[in-house]
Symmetry: C2
Subunit: 338 residues, 2 copies
């Protein structure tokens, strides 16, 4: 089969690999309908994460079940399924508390930018739709697999709700979908921090009421200006750098909540400033599995259209162009069709 492999920073190739096989009786093999390039795939692509050996890429996927292990009972061959970047049993105490991405049996899921992929712990990881979805829903269901679920967790972690003023740091797919999530969760006012016109437009379409172009200290000052000098109730951090984390913390009022979902790279939080900021801090890898049934319902009944974040669609063979376009910020997010 054809699969996307990262050989070194900047060196992505689509090449022939063996089709994955069932390794454990809890596995499933799926034929990938669509996959995509994630902002976090750019970390190793840009050399910010090391690449010791050629790595099969991709962890966002929707597809058709091709084969199941002996004990798999929740999904069947031929069903359309959506999963996430961590496999989880969905039964342990941590899963049951809503933190499937820290499941005690957690396994990473990879190699989604390919024709086929193996899903460990298929019963706890995959969610099947009742019927094969219409073609125009595929992109949105694919978004649910990571970026929508991650933006949603950011909003939940920031305790977004009615009456709340929300600020979102980061205008990538996750930040944009955090805006959509905040809107769905009933936020009264949503401030998008973005300096890119196309992204500002999408932010408004997803529910942003205000746009702040400034970043860093100037961005913080602007947020305070818009919130009677107090800061936002809820701030969602969707970048993962020192600057974006501090921007998020400083944009939050005392007693307010920061939900952070950007994968922290070279971030060190100064204890004394955090102490006196009085903010709540919560985040990490999103428990997408917990939200999937609800998100799938919202997509299939037409309430939300998160697939709008895909502004580039390519055949799998052109995966390298997808990486380049996102790296150069020519595309928000690239969808790949095997």
């Amino acid at each position: 089969m054809r699969a996307t492999i990262l050989h070194a920073p900047g060196d992505v190739r689509v090449e022939e690999r063996a089709k994955p096989t069932i390794q454990n009786p809890t596995d499933a093999i799926i034929k990938v309908t669509a996959a995509c390039v994630c902002g976090s795939d750019l970390w190793p692509y840009r050399g910010a994460d090391s690449v010791a050996e050629p790595v099969p890429m991709g962890h966002e996927y929707v597809g058709i079940v091709d084969e199941v292990g002996a004990v798999v009972k929740n999904v069947k061959v031929g069903q359309f399924v959506i999963g996430s970047f961590f496999a989880s049993d969905n039964t342990c105490e941590i899963c049951q508390s809503g933190y499937q991405s820290s499941c005690v049996h957690r396994e990473g899921v990879g190699g989604a930018q390919a024709e086929y992929m193996r899903i460990p712990l298929a019963d706890g990881t995959l969610v099947a739709t009742a019927e094969l979805p219409e073609a125009n829903k595929i992109a949105s269901l694919l978004a649910a697999s990571d970026v929508l679920g991650t933006g949603w967790f950011g909003a939940v972690a920031a305790e977004v709700g009615p009456g709340k003023t929300v600020a979102v740091v980061g205008d990538g797919a996750v930040g944009l979908l955090a805006i959509l999530a905040a809107k769905q969760l009933g936020a009264t006012r949503i401030i998008a921090m973005s300096r890119h016109e196309a992204r500002q437009k999408l932010a408004r379409e997803f529910g942003a009421s205000d746009i702040v172009k400034e970043r860093g200290d100037a961005g913080v000052a602007k947020i305070r200006e818009l919130t009677d000098g107090l800061g936002a109730h809820c701030v969602i951090e969707a970048v993962g750098t020192q600057e974006s984390m501090m921007q998020a913390i400083r944009s939050t009022r005392p007693g307010g909540h920061v939900g952070y979902v950007g994968v922290s790279h070279d971030v060190d939080l100064p204890g004394l400033e955090l102490f006196f900021s009085h903010v709540h801090l919560h985040g990490g890898p999103a428990p997408v599995r917990d939200y999937l049934p609800h998100l799938i319902e919202l997509i299939l009944n037409g309430t939300i259209n998160p697939g709008l974040v895909f502004d580039l669609e390519l055949p799998l063979e052109d995966a390298a162009e997808g990486y380049r376009a996102m790296d150069e910020r020519r595309a928000i997010k690239a969808l790949l069709r095997p």
Copy 2:
């Protein structure tokens, strides 16, 4: 009047100072009934915080109102009052949300280890009792002024409640009273981390069900052993060092809550570890004012006896001995009587 002044690290003196006077119409002057030495007073005493000039010490107090400014209406001359280390208006949006210690008009309160002290924003800061309390309640009411309120905030920030397993890092007065708070808030199991016998005894008296003597990595391993390998639901951090913060974060299960109330000194939290820990983090200076009415009620009706943390009582003149005893860990907490 007599007042306690820190001249340099290790150099505490009780000397003659002018009696404070009303400076703003919102001020009150109180005659201090009892004050005490705080764990945080030890930071400058030990040279961990710099001492640029002689500083009047003390921020924990109960006393009798001696004089009020022109607009003060909630407290009257002759009333017994309890306050806290930050003055707050108790009316701004931040105060109303329960974060009086980040009040938009916040002012520090100091010089409590003296015969008289000035309280800014008296109406929002002081809480009067209906009658003069009995002598045997003074120590407990004094504890409410900071260490009890701070331990209580730690428990609230860690989301302690029924069904929860709670671990407490730190066996100073705040840590011990966090145990009392956790018990009052309905925790099912309370693990005290302490290696000092007298403090372990008090921990048990306040409600601890388990004692862990180990600290650092060994302490974390022990907490995991006691919690099916998962970590505690709620961890209260009451020290404020890098080691204690990491011990708290690592002792918490994914999705669990760390409430931190030790004043962070030289603490830097590693972003990536925090991200994957999946913990909630909240803390800072305790909004003691928010809890005072409830805590005073629990003390006066005999439900709690937080004054047990005072294991040394001295006349104000001997304040220096109080500092020495706490610095050398001969005393948990020293009460001073002017």
